[in-house]
Amino acid sequence: MTQVTLSGLTKIFDQKSPPAVDNLDLEIESGKLTALLGPSGCGKTTTMKMIAGLLRPTAGDILFDGDSILSIKPEERGAVMVFQNYLLFPYMNIADNIGFGLKMRKVNKKEIRSRVQDMLDLVQLPGFEDRKPNQLSGGQQQRIALARALIVQPNVLLLDEPLSNLDAHLRDEMRVLIRRIQTEMGITTVFVTHDQEEAVVLADKVALLFDGRLQQFDAPDSFYDTPNTVDIATFFGGTNFIPGYYLDGTITTDIGVFDAPNSLVPEGDAVLSIRPEAVDLGEGGENSVSGTVLSHVYAGRYARFQIRIGDIEIEAVTEPGQVKLFADGDNIPVKFDPDKIWVLGPNTAEQPAATTG
C-alpha cells in the first residue's frame, strides 16, 4: 500500500483571497483511514483534488511512498477520488459506470462483467447493473460511486464527504460499510468530512483544517482529551473553558486554584478546559469548589446540569440517577479531576469567557 506525504502543500486560486490550502504538511499512513476534517470552505476538496492530480498545487510537494508524483498524470497516480456529489455518468447504466475504470484500462469485457458483479455484491446492490443512475436513491448512487472507485483497486482512495447527502440512518450503514471495505482491502484512505463525530468514529487519525491550515493531526481521542487550541476544543464542542494563570502544575482562576498536571503552556496566561463528563458533582476535597445548580435535563442515558460557580457557568454530564440527588438551587461541591483537566494557551483573538462551546 501507499504512504502519502504532503509537504508544504499550498494552493492559491487568486492573489486577492487567502490561500485555499496553506503550507500543509501531512503524513498519511499506509493502509490507514485518515479523516480530513474542517468546516465548509477550509480547503478539504482542494487538498483531495491536488492529491488526485486534478488541480496543480501553487507550491509544495506530494509524495507517494517517498517519491514526488507532481509530474505524474492523474490517470497514472493510482489515487481515485470519489466526489461529494457522486457524479455517476448519467447516460451510462450502472454496470458501465462501475466498469468504467477497467474499460479505460482495456480490460476485456468478460472480466469487466464479472468484476462488476463482485463490486455490486460488495456494496450490497446485486441486480442493479441495468438501471440508470437517475433510477437510484442518493444512498444507492453513493454506493455505486464507491464501487466504481474500488473496482480499479486504487492505491489511495480519496472520499470527499461521501456521507453528507445521506440521512442519519443510511449514514451509519455507509460508515460501517466503508470501514469494513477499507479494513478488508487495506487501502490508504483519506476521508473528508465536516462532521467531527464522523471523523472520530471512522478514522485511525484525524487531520483538522481551519482556513487551509492544519490545526492538529492526531488520534481521534486526542481532539477531545488534549486539543491544541481553544478553537479546536470549541470545534469539537461541549468543553468548559475557564481562563486563568498557569504556574508549577496549578492553574489559578477566578473561581479557585486547581491542580493540573497536564498542560500545553509551561507558564503564564492559560485556559483550563474540562469536558462535562469529567465534572464530578457532590464530591468535595482536593480540586473542588462550591457551585449552585441552575438547571438540569434528564436525557435517559445521562443527565446534564448547568452549574454556576462564582461568575462562571459550566456544564456537567453525569449518570442519569444523579437527577434525584440534586435539585435546582442546591449548593453542592463540584470537583475537577486533575488528570482530566487540560490546560491550553489563550491563543484566540477574543479571550474565551467561561463558556461552554
Binding site: F89, M104, V152
Partner: protein
Amino acid sequence: MNRFRLSERGAERLSISVLLAPAVAVIVLLFLGGLASGFLRSLNYFPLIGLNDFNFDAYFAIFTDNGFLQSLVLTFHIAFTSTLIASILAVASALLLRPAFRGKRIVHFFFSLNLTIPHLVGAIGVLYLFQNSGLVSRIMTGLDIIQRPADFPAMVFDPWAIGIIIQYVWKEIPFIGVIVLAILLSVGEDYESVARSLGANRWQAFRQVTLPLIMPGVVSASVIVFAFTFGAFEIPYLLGRTFPAALPVLAYQSYTDVDLAARPQAMAMAMVIAFISTLLIMAYMKLSRVYIRE
C-alpha cells in the same frame, strides 16, 4: 375548493390560448398555407396560369432529370459537409475557450460579433478573399507560393462548392459554439475529473464522458444548421456554379423561367427540399438518441 381551482386552471389555459391565437394563426397561415398552396401547384393545380388538372408530371419530370439529381447530391454535400466541419470546429473551439472564459459574458460578446454579421456580407467576404483575383491568391502570389493569381485553386464557383462551405462553416461555428460552450460551462469539469481519476486519459475522458454529455446540444444545434444550409438560397446563388446549382437555386431558376410550365416543377422541387429536410432531421434525431443511449 377543488372544483374552483380546476376551473381557475381551465380559465388560465383558455386565456393563454386566446393570447397565443394571433401568433399561431400567422404561423399556420404563412407556413402551412404556403406549404399547402405550394403542394397544390406542384401537382399541376394553378388556376391563375391556366393549370387545372391534378397530376404528378412535375415530380416525374424532375426525378428523371439528371440535372435535378446532380443538384440534389450537391445540396446534400454542401449541407452535410459544412455542418460536420462546423460542428467539429465548434466543439474544438468551445473546449479551447472554456478555461479562459469562466465569465460567460465575454464569451457571449465574442461569439455574437460574428453572429450579427449577415450571411450576405459573409458571402462577399468569401468572394473577396478566395476568388482567383482575391486577397488570398494575391498574397500567395506575392509570397511566391503560386506563380500567378490564376494558379490559385478554384474555391468559388467551383464544383466542390468549397467557397459555399467555407462561408457556412465560418458563419455556423459560433452558432454551434455558443451552445456547446454554454453546456460545457453548466456541466462543469467534475465529470471529466472523475473520469481522469478513474484512469481515463485526456482523450478518453473527452470521448467517453464530455462528448456524450454535450452531444444532445451539438446535435440539436447541428440539425438547425443542417436544415438551414439545405434550404438556403443566397449563398449558393452568390458563390456557386450555375450548373449544377444547389436545389434552392435550381428551384428559383425554374420558377423564374419564361416557360410557365416549369412552375409546377419549381414547386415540386420546393416540396422535395421541404420533404428531405424533414426526413433528414427526423433521421438525425433518431440517430442521436440512439447515440446518447449508448
